[in-house]
């Protein structure tokens, strides 16, 4: 909402300096987006006339113009010389009066006009649009002045007085502030001042009654709760008086002609959108025009004022000529066919109230916003339609030479719903919610300033009736908000609640999730964040089966095809991050993410959203340093990370089982394991990602990865296990290298050693795996263990150790088919 300070000043006493009001707006909840000075400081900007207009020799859309600026540009003898200006606008003709910024001008936004060359042709200034001059939003073309505008006059002088426009963002609950009268009331309440608004009324009604010329039928009161029509005859279409054009421009509109300007001006003034139909273009039957307001037919067409053909739906509301042809899209935009033109003499003025919901959907679905739709969307004051029509009729009389027909056609099925409501406000409740000692007198005074009627209705009760242009005031709390914001939220003393009988903090699960991240970071992985979206072929590209992952959750209108559903695995996203790094020359990548996946159900509305912990390792932990060398990440780096994590969470009975390639087809066979813990519960997997899948994801380097179910981790996690005595007596270390078939796993050997060692074996550590076809044998490997024998109560003798070890060796060799390597 653009507020002309000069206009506002005519309705309420405001401070000399607009900055003071801006500060008050900010304090009380009207957000100021910009403050523009118009008409001032426009040096070197002059009124001008287009002398000639020829196509630019080297451009198909620019024009080469000679622009007369009168004696603002003269030759050596003092004779006026036109300026050569290259102009890209299309809306002007030779002879048009325009506004020219000459070299040296500085337009709003610190836009300096300099001599320049456009496609090789010199340009000595610029033809200005209203927006470039800070006079409005119009940037469709350059500003065209009336034909009687002088040439070569300083534009500031031409405009007359200067003005300041405060551009405010109005929140959706405040339709009243989309009008100058509403804004005046708001300002009066903020400043505690009186308003002095004078509205014109019709001087003399003439001719036939409006009711004899027009009738109105509302098909569905849900779409339109009130429709009033007035008729004026004999209008003389022409330019608006300067004051009218200036106010329309200040409000952000474009001066079109006196009739259209009056409807727009009155809308800016009152917030009530108006529409003027050319009466002559409506069908006459039985001596009258018949306005029928009805729902649009499915697929019905209407060409709106902007020249676009619109296809309508039954959710939309149209104004029709006798029920047949739509002549306007209700609440949004008029139709082209009944537009006011230079030949218009008789006008049917619509001042109506259309449903906010339908208007808002119509405007959104057609992508067509208008000053009218913005206002209907936020609700228009239905009680005021006739009063506003009167103001407009009076201005038609004053500015367009019109005769106003007596009376108004007023169909008002929604009258009962528009009746103001009575609200009880408790001053004590206001003080409680506000947390401030606001006096009752303040509440009464400021609510009255806002246009409420306020009466005392008991010990702690005020009876309040809100004005009809404030649909946001229906409950006590709505009034409390008004009082608190006018009192000043900034002036309320800060306190901190006592929170009696409440304890907070993280839950054990939340602390464990944090712990997971800490362990992974300490293992060298960095946390990242990827999109929860997925492409439909993400799983297929990696060869991840859909089994157990439900059906995809499909996004109805995805932004991009690669994000058309919700992910069902974290791995594809992390592999994209690996690819991103590799593509950008970063070869060492170690990332993890803790995030959700989405498993939809065929027959349920909402999916499951389990969380997973996924990590990827590619390249090396770091580049070689002067004193450190690093190997390429392999399976055992990823497994080591998983082991650290499970250990830190005190997960027990952990096993890594060779992953079945049928079940884990996205992993490299023989280099992948299923992670099982707590006695057979599957936690996740770890392994090399299958090279085929990597290629499909654009990753050209080996990647090892893991993915673990957060739920399983949290379920299996335990508190600190109980303390183990620290040995006080020395143990005896014995090395054992045993040669076994490749098929004998480390896990098997460790198990056999453990069970053969008896009570005296306290520790087993694998320290070497050695293969050599000659020395060890084809298909065999030597596994070297360091064994520690120890008794808690005595120092073992060498005889005891030798006996125990010999027994262990015999048993292990027997059960594994191995032999001791000497």
């Amino acid at each position: 909402m653009r507020i002309s300070y000069e206009w506002l000043k005519s309705m309420v006493d405001v401070p000399e300096d607009p900055a003071e009001l801006v500060a008050e707006f900010t304090r009380t909840g009207t957000e100021v987006e910009a403050v523009e000075k118009v008409g001032a400081n426009l040096e070197h900007v002059v009124t001008a006339q287009v002398v000639s207009k020829k196509p630019h020799p080297d451009s198909d859309h620019m024009w080469l113009c000679q622009v007369s600026v009168g004696d603002k540009n003269v030759d050596a003898d003092g004779n006026p010389v036109p300026l050569q200006i290259v102009c890209g606008a299309q809306n002007f003709n030779e002879g048009d009066h325009i506004v020219c910024a000459m070299i040296g001008a500085v337009l709003p936004g610190d836009f300096k006009i300099k001599k320049s060359k456009l496609r090789g042709v010199e340009s000595c200034g610029m033809n200005c649009s209203a927006r470039e001059l800070g006079l409005g939003s119009d940037h469709e073309g350059i500003m065209i002045l009336p034909e009687d505008a002088p040439v070569g006059m300083d534009f500031t002088d031409y405009l007359g007085t200067s003005d300041t426009v405060i551009d405010c963002e109005i929140t959706p609950n405040r339709p009243d502030c989309l009008s100058m009268t509403g804004m005046a009331v708001e300002v009066a309440a903020i400043l505690d001042e009186d308003t002095h608004v004078e509205l014109p009324s019709v001087k003399a009604e003439k001719g036939p009654d409006a009711a004899d010329l027009v009738d109105v039928t509302i098909d569905d009161p849900e779409l339109c709760s009130r429709y009033t029509a007035r008729v004026v005859r004999g209008v003389k279409i022409g330019p608006s008086p300067e004051w009218l054009a200036r106010r329309v421009a200040a409000a952000g509109g474009r001066s079109i002609n006196n009739v259209v300007d009056v409807t727009n001006y009155v809308m800016y003034l009152t917030g009530q959108p108006l529409h003027a139909f050319d009466l002559g273009k409506l069908t006459e039957r039985d001596g009258r025009r018949h306005i029928v307001v009805r729902a649009a037919g499915d697929g019905e067409k209407l060409v709106t004022l902007d020249g676009q053909e619109r296809t309508l739906t039954p959710d939309m509301c149209v104004i029709t000529d006798d029920g047949h042809t739509p002549v306007a899209l209700a609440g949004v935009m008029g139709g082209l066919d009944s537009e006011i033109t230079e030949d218009t003499t008789d006008v049917l003025l619509e001042s109506a109230n259309f449903s906010s919901g339908h208007t808002s959907r119509t405007s959104r679905n057609l992508d067509l916003m208008s000053e009218a739709s913005i206002r209907y969307e936020r609700k228009v004051d239905g009680t005021n339609c006739a009063n506003v029509a009167e103001i407009a009729a009076a201005l038609f009389e004053e500015c367009c030479g019109a005769e106003v027909c007596p009376g108004i056609v007023d169909v008002y099925p929604g009258e009962a719903d528009d009746a103001p409501v009575q609200i009880t406000l408790r001053p004590s409740r206001t003080r409680l919610i506000g947390g401030a000692d606001i006096p009752e007198e303040f509440m009464v005074a400021r609510l009255r300033r806002l246009g409420c009627s306020v009466e005392r209705a008991g010990e702690d009760a005020l009876s309040v009736v809100a004005p009809t242009n404030r649909p946001d005031l229906t409950r006590e709390v709505d009034l409390i908000e008004e009082v608190v914001r006018l009192w000043g939220e900034g002036d309320i003393a800060p306190t901190i609640p006592a929170a009696r009988n409440h304890a907070g903090g993280l839950t054990p699960e939340q602390r464990r999730v944090r712990r997971i991240g800490q362990v992974l970071r300490s293992c060298g992985l960095s946390e990242t964040s990827t999109y929860c979206f997925a492409a439909t072929d993400d799983l297929a590209r990696l060869g991840i089966p859909e089994t157990g992952r439900g059906v995809p959750v499909k996004i109805i209108r995805p932004l991009v095809a690669e994000q058309s559903e919700m992910r069902r695995d974290l791995l594809p996203g992390l592999l994209r991050s690996v690819a991103y790094n590799l593509d950008h020359g970063v070869s060492n990548v170690a990332l993890y993410e803790i995030g959700r996946v989405f498993f939809g159900h065929e027959s349920k509305s909402l999916p499951d959203e389990p969380s997973y912990v996924c990590g990827v390792l590619c390249g090396r932990r770091a580049d070689d340093a002067w004193n450190q060398r690093f190997d390429e990440y392999d399976f055992f780096d990823a497994k080591g990370v998983v082991e650290e994590l499970l250990d830190a969470l005190r997960v027990t009975k952990v096993r890594f089982k060779a992953a079945d390639p049928e079940q884990y087809p996205w992993l490299q066979p023989g280099r992948a394991a299923e992670v099982v813990a707590g006695g057979g519960q599957v936690v996740g997997w770890v392994g090399n990602v299958h090279p085929r899948g990597l290629r499909a994801m654009g990753v050209e380097a080996p990647v090892v990865a893991f993915e673990l179910s957060q739920a399983a981790l949290l379920r299996l996690a335990a508190d600190q296990l109980s303390y183990q005595d620290i040995p006080t007596l020395p143990g005896v270390d014995v090395d054992l290298a045993i040669v076994v078939d490749e098929s004998v796993t480390c896990e098997t050997l460790m198990q056999r050693i453990g069970s053969a060692g008896g009570k005296l074996l306290s520790d087993v550590r694998l320290f070497d795996v050695y293969r050599d076809p000659v020395r060890v044998g084809e298909g065999k490997k030597s596994m070297a263990f360091s064994l520690t024998y120890r008794a808690a109560d005595r120092t073992l003798t060498s005889e005891e150790v030798e006996k125990a070890h010999a027994k262990l060796v015999t048993k292990v060799c027997k059960s594994t088919g191995g032999e001791v390597r000497s």
Partner: protein, 359 residues
């Protein structure tokens, strides 16, 4: 030569030898030559028996004194030599301390998680709980229960990702029948739905925050992401005032941005709070004078908030006459941008190691 002369000569000889010894080995050879089995002093001690009995005490005493002096001289020299040896070893061991150390290169936490945990810790310190909820919600939890009108623009498909509903009408609050003509199931656009879930399942007092991922159909660019992070908070208790809200926000914002930052409360409108406001902190770059960073205003907009609308409490089965409360919401990415002046939000989603390792 008498025995006493011999003893004195040995003592003098040892003193000379000790002074001349340059290594432990030389010193040891000297010791052996005097005190060893075949050493000179050992020989004299052995021959003591041959002396006349009257000479023995005096000579024995002298021999012992000499022996003690020899021991002491050897020991002192040994210590000196050991100290010199250690000095030489250390000198040889000296290194260029400017060479890089051996680092463990731990990973880093994502910037957004860092801020999220920081905010969680601040509110846990105030006695809040941290709550979570589904990313995929019904229109009821995301909008209706929060007092968002049926025609609120935020419900449109331009501002909300709707997803295919595989079983229309099966979730509770089935009165929500495709208000926007799409589906009643959506990707949450705010974490506020979590507040509704919490209010439905627990009674006041409620002091909670709900940090989490949210979605809006904004094409990813320098200033927008279709997926981002919000932290919302909710307090519902007896006697909660706007002042309580302000005190809490003042404390929180100073914890996050610094004790010297001022706050500003501007009345605003949100469907689920009333009175509502937007909260600004003074610009950290210019200290509130106005600069490029704060677009000349001196203030940075940080969060939207207000007193919980009684309709919201009623929708969740809480007596809005007995209880009042406040709610607030902020974007974590916004805090990240304000703190680190990030040029492009998309960096947060690429997993670029060069970016992640900075934080």
């Amino acid at each position: 030569m008498s025995m006493s002369d011999d003893l004195k000569a040995i003592e003098a000889q040892v003193a000379e030898g000790v002074a001349a010894a340059q290594s432990m080995e030389e010193l040891e050879a000297l010791r052996v030559s005097v005190l060893g089995k075949k050493g000179q002093l050992t020989a004299i001690m052995r021959s003591m028996g041959k002396l006349a009995p009257e000479e023995r005490p005096a000579m024995g005493q002298l021999a012992n004194t000499v022996r003690a002096n020899v021991d002491a001289a050897l020991k002192a020299r040994r210590e000196t030599l050991a100290a010199e040896l250690m000095e030489r070893k250390m000198a040889a061991d000296a290194c260029d301390v400017t060479l890089p150390g051996r680092r463990l290169t731990p990973g880093t936490q994502h910037l957004i998680s860092q801020i999220r945990e920081e905010v969680e810790d601040i509110f846990c310190g105030l006695g809040y709980t941290v709550e979570d909820g589904p990313y995929i919600e019904t229109t009821w939890y995301n909008f209706t229960a929060l007092n968002a009108p049926e025609d609120h623009p935020s419900r449109s498909a331009k501002d909300t990702f709707y997803v295919v509903d595989n079983a229309p009408g099966t979730v509770s609050h089935a009165e929500e029948t495709n208000v926007q003509g799409e589906s009643d199931i959506l990707l949450r656009t705010q974490t506020s739905g979590v507040q509704v879930h919490v209010m439905e399942r627990s009674k006041p007092p409620i002091y909670m925050i709900c940090p989490g991922t949210v979605f809006r159909p904004d094409t990813a660019d320098a200033n927008h992401l279709p997926q981002f992070t919000q932290i919302e908070g909710l307090v519902v208790d007896e006697g909660i005032t706007f002042g309580d809200f302000k005190g809490t926000m003042d404390y929180f914002l100073r914890q996050v941005f610094g004790e010297d930052r001022a706050t500003r409360y501007r009345p605003h409108f949100f469907p689920f709070t009333e009175p509502s406001c937007e909260v600004d902190v003074s610009c950290g770059v210019c200290g509130g004078k106005g600069c490029r960073f704060c677009k000349g205003t001196g203030w940075l907009e940080i969060l939207g908030a207000g007193m919980v609308d009684p309709n919201v409490l009623d929708n969740c089965g809480i007596d809005s006459e007995k209880y009042t409360g406040f709610a607030f919401g902020m974007g974590v990415e916004r805090i990240a941008c304000l703190r680190y002046d990030l040029p492009d939000l998309r960096m947060l989603m690429t997993g670029d190691m060069r970016f992640l390792s900075q934080f």
